[in-house]
Symmetry: D4
Subunit: 252 residues, 8 copies
């Protein structure tokens, strides 16, 4: 729909129905809605193929709810990450149809139509139980992006046979997201076992010289398994979006 609108504008310029300057203004400003404290970009769904996403940290519950309501009103679906318990309560009360996930700290309002299906599946592998919130954020996001997400939990390398016992699951994955804190070594071992894309998420799980996730971040950036890519510490959301970029590309 939006694509048609744009084509229409350009044709009207060609037909002399619209001045060049006016067309430029229309093109740029129309699908951007300003709330004063936020500028909603309704174009993004078109450009990137994702539902609109709100980063919840640093915004008040009221701000989150107002932005989410405006997006949901267009019917395109909206996902909120980093939802504090307070914000979750506020959203439950004020945003009809919201699905809250306390472990993943997400809030989700589905769009009128489901997102297009990505090809294949994502397997989210975690090194330990403490990594679950990040892994769950990844799984919820993947689902919101139209991708099938499976979970493989607590298979860190200190007990390597736990991982090897699950080699079957790994080999049937289209994309693997590895979530690990502390030494972050799981990404290298998984990266060496499979041929598919591996996205590593360092977590802030640990203490002392883990420095809030720097240790596994560096481990993963230096992975001796070639072709492992990395996202920000605790960024389960970003890893899932990266997986969706891959699986939706495979669809087309």
């Amino acid at each position: 729909m939006i694509r048609e609108h744009v084509r229409d504008l350009l044709e009207r310029v060609a037909n002399g129905e619209l001045a060049a300057d006016a067309a430029l203004d229309a093109l740029a400003l129309d699908p951007v809605e300003s709330l004063g404290f936020a500028t909603i970009d309704h174009h993004r769904a078109l450009r990137q193929g994702f539902p609109e996403v709100i980063y919840g940290a640093g915004k008040t519950p009221a701000q989150i709810t107002e932005i989410a309501s405006h997006i949901a009103a267009r019917g395109t679906g909206v996902l909120v990450t980093r939802v504090s318990p307070d914000a979750a309560e506020f959203l439950r009360a004020n945003l009809p149809g919201v699905e809250l996930n306390a472990v993943a700290r997400t809030a989700h309002v589905r769009g009128i139509e489901p997102p297009p299906r990505g090809e294949g599946n994502v397997v989210v592998v975690t090194a330990g139980t403490s990594d679950l919130p990040v892994a769950e954020e990844a799984a919820v996001t993947a689902d919101a992006m139209g991708c099938v997400a499976e979970r493989l939990t607590d298979v860190g390398v200190a007990g390597i046979h736990r991982l090897l016992a699950n080699r079957g699951s790994l080999e049937q994955a289209s994309v693997i997201i590895v979530v690990a804190g502390m030494d972050g070594a799981l990404a290298s071992v998984v990266g060496g076992l499979v041929r598919v894309p591996v996205i590593a998420v360092p977590t802030s799980v640990g203490y002392g010289a883990s420095f809030g996730g720097i240790a596994p971040l560096l481990t993963m950036l230096n992975s001796c398994a070639a072709g492992v890519t990395v996202v920000n510490i605790d960024n389960g959301f970003g890893a899932a979006v990266a997986a969706a970029r891959i699986l939706h590309g495979a669809t087309e």
Copy 2:
């Protein structure tokens, strides 16, 4: 072939032709060749679908050449990265059929059969001329992995219309590798323009507070464009392998 060999071993155990212990030994040790200072893993081609790769830094020209010769002798192809000028000279003289690329600092001996073709193409985008060696390493590696690589050079965000002028190339890419030093901002802008996977490579180009590439590394890890993934500083090789993991997955 190797797969058949393994199946054969296991069946001989089942038939009582081979003791369990003996089979385990055979299985593990056979395809690994020891040179004393190195343990070549001929299995890897099977496991990961890549030609064998040697990281040239920290190895002597003689060591590199000996490892490369043993691999090349199997006919599977071998790629050497971080080839110093000295090592390049030594390889040119002692490794028949080697292709040297001075900008990318690579040496390549092609296998008897070409690698399987990846689906689609990789576009390697660089922010500035000084980033070219890393970008070229990515392009050479992609080619060695059976992927088509295109180049888009010197389109950093300080002159944003240079990038926008090339939006067509970006939109036709299957995977985009963004190579940038200094502020590393190019990855965020590209990540916001396209829907396909974007792999960001920070480079050590810059001075002062770029801290040898930490600045663009952090920029890319914190990209406000969702789903951008990152590899190590100057790791053009790793970015290309990540791209190959995606494109070969799309093939299957």
Copy 3:
């Protein structure tokens, strides 16, 4: 007035009405008022052209109020930054005429005469909604310094057309303050679009590898757009003072 007082002192030395030592003492000590825990410098208004400013963090509500009262009593105006909610309550009750801004965390008592007007205007651009408190501190400070401040909110580079759609505002600015956390890439893009001074403020918005604002700080220091200058993380106040130094210079 103060200038006259000083000239008078020096002339009395020349006339023999005042010993050299006595003049030195008078000159230095007169306009500095000591509260025991603080030394108020009433000279600064003369020297720098700004109202007096109090950095509120690390001071008790009572200390802030006492210092502010002494300054306000001279009629020169006073601005307090980093006002905690407790201090705000205390100031509201005890400092007549105070204007509080909860988002900017500022308290302001205007002087008897308005500050001299700076030439032109400051545009405060923010990458995201979470950057608003820092941007608002900049805008309030600019106003207190006699400068017109405009706001352009939530135009981060992940959706580059949101920014390009506002190119008009940017091009009519005299000075631009760019406030951004996470990747901080907005400063480079804006710096490349305009010819006027651009002052970049990294914010502590983000998580993980943003390291409390180090990531955008480094991005901005390494900006590939030449001539972008940077202030401390979250230092909206400092950016506005820098802008005022420019606009008041242009006045003269």
Copy 4:
């Protein structure tokens, strides 16, 4: 001229003489010249009002010379920074009309017309003799940008009366660039003495806990004199461009 060309293109679209797509292509690609390893942006002069600048580090002497020649051929003037002694020799031999400055490590070819004059003057203040290369880079750049640059050398705060003795020069400046390594304290003292814009450049002069310039960088970012802005370590060029942005703004 370029502006007219663009207007012309858009009017031809309005007149039906040109298809929308064709106009877009023409608009973006025309003033960008590709050398394969570099994309020259002849538009930048228009957009930012500076001569074109080449960052010399990480480029070969031949690359620098080729880029510089293409720019110089347009008659708009070109400045090269971070010129190694080898590159300087090569440029001297191959780039007619080049002016080399060994202390500043710059190469400059002046444009056919001089750059427009900035209003007022820049005073470049250095803390010590070892900071001179960075200060000289700033002075040469300011000159290339059409600004008058004065120098005040070796007036660090350990002998505060050296600085106070030059208070007259400081008070007559339109913009001050403070270049200092080690403790970087000079920026705070100067910032407290004057009302005009102060741009601080930390240098890598020092040893041990100066960490290659991190110490003065942090000092300057935390300056207790409000409104001091900072550029990258050793970035004399950037400071001068920031000054030019201010002085040319004052012109208009």
Copy 5:
């Protein structure tokens, strides 16, 4: 007294009254009193000339009180630093004769005899009001060590004449302790003005790129004024002990 005891022991060994092993045991263990969770070293007063000091952070109020009581019982005086409000309450109730200082966060029980007087005086100079707790810790400690402490408050370098106006106090000091956060530049300026020992204490006052006091710590370590020495961030206590080491040395 203790000295005599030791000499006595050694003479008894020489006289055959005591076996060598027994003497060694006696010598080492006698003046050390064990509380299970702490080993009190009553020797230290002899060895270093200071009253015993307890670092209060990380100890429970009960632990602090028990250790302090045992020391106070010997009559040698005891100083506790980093006393939390809870610990202060507990000490007030349970340690007779304790003097509490809420700003300095110290608790002090004076010994039966006053400490020997140090020669001369210490001047504690602070850059800003927020640095007062650290400065006060220094002043209280100096007093406990028998040194006269004077205070000079809120004379940071952004208003350099505030400092110059107090040059007299500085020139009459025997030792100067400079307490400053943010840019820490005050230490360099003071170090350049005087010939006496200058001990710099960086404070954690500031935000963003002050990194909890790293910025002024580095500034002070890199001071361009020769011979300025530095102690840990917020370590007013250590600076005062260093001053006492100097002033007591001068006494002898």
Copy 6:
């Protein structure tokens, strides 16, 4: 027992009673029990000779209790570290037979049979009273691993004779664990005094430039006493396991 089970499986493959694939599955999956949010590895006792250990941080009291109950049910004993006060309460109420240690922050359920005894003893040496929680974690862990642990408390190097007075205890130790924060210098002195293994544990005790334990960590890694090894900051548990690895090796 488990060892026999595995041998049995392999013999059944050799006898044709079991297909190779089935044996592989059985081997890997049997002793791993999945709780959904955790994968318990009952094999580990066999592989490493330790009771199972749960890292309590980042897990809810309910999760900890459920995992601990499943392990305890097998009779092999379980140790929980980093037990928060809330978790301790929950465990006291819901895990029969648990032994809680508030200083060490541990919970321990002993196995049906005591662990095998390690040869010799571990001496846990602490620099100061504030290091006790980490030291106690080490001592409790050593006990759980079947090792005798002795404690030597508050013998930091600032009073070197306190340490020398205890040289006897040090010389009779089989392994020494040195627990120290702040300057961490104790490890080097102890390492120079004895010939047995020395394991150094840096603690986060300190402030300012101790950077949460980085200072003693670096001290210990750079120990001028050869052969001192180091574990993570505050990792008393890990140090004790390392000691147990040594003492149990000596047993065999």
Copy 7:
């Protein structure tokens, strides 16, 4: 012999043959030999059971040779580490009986009697060929300390079956030294496979975000395999001494 000498001294004190002061002097100074630029501690062999070791970096070839000659003259054996090629040449010419190892960068003169044999063996495992110099330093040192050293090379975790194929060697080791750069993940996997002490040596092999060995150092300090201990980056020597402390303890 030295032990007897000391006992003799003490008995002479008990017998009145020697004054206490004189005995103290004799005891302390005798076995320490001063070369002006160095203080040789011939006692150390007694105290720690190792041959004397010289750290070669930062000493001139002449200094190294002079120190080594004085030690060798006593017949106790001497090991030099970090021997530069220049120093190696100088030692070869001037130190009779020296054994040089170019890969390990060591020089060794054996003592008159061989060192006492340690119980068991050390297995030195390396992740990659580039880690060999550090591993070889460990092996040479272990040999000099009387320990049997075996080598297992190039078995990094990216090809996990290379490691699993060598599980036999690992299980027969008394102590394992793991030498790895880049991601350092090998230590965690080995630590999970065996019950014996594991000493991890991070190496500076790698580039970019390995930060000269910080990445594997942090990985190893955060190892999820309990009881892995760590030494300084590239410190093969220290790891071997730690192993010798363990194996010699097991001997007694």
Copy 8:
């Protein structure tokens, strides 16, 4: 003499012989001599009591020699630190009367009159032979400042009895400078043994996690011996000036 000159100026103002402005100019500019690239401050000798000092790093041999010649011509003596071998050669040839010290990397021209004698002595203690250049810089500087310097070499804490054997020298010192790299632990032990001022100098001796001297710097800043002060890494010069400030204060 200079003092008289200044008094004279002020009296002429009082007498009307000199205008106030003229006096100010005269006062400030007279004793400062400008060489274009340097501003020599002949006042400093008056203000601080030291000979003039030139920091040699980052200056050309010609620059150093020109500055040194101008100072030497006044007869006040000059000390150059960080003299490169090239600069040393140049100075030997062009600066009559220069004394060069290759280990300390200093050049010294003595003044016409010897500096005033400081009271007492400085003992410079080093942990190892590799720390000698820094220690020697301290000793040469102390001598140039009129202080007696003694040396105590290679007494690091790994062999604690080497240090204890020299306790006599330590106890007779007026000030102690401790020079140590690697773990830097020597400062804490010495600080605990003596009552006089202890100035700690971390050195860049070491490798890996010593991070160019950060490790001993942090150790020393966190010293558990109270009142130890610290100077920059490798700053033997600064430590000696700090000692001279103490010993000259004791003189007066």
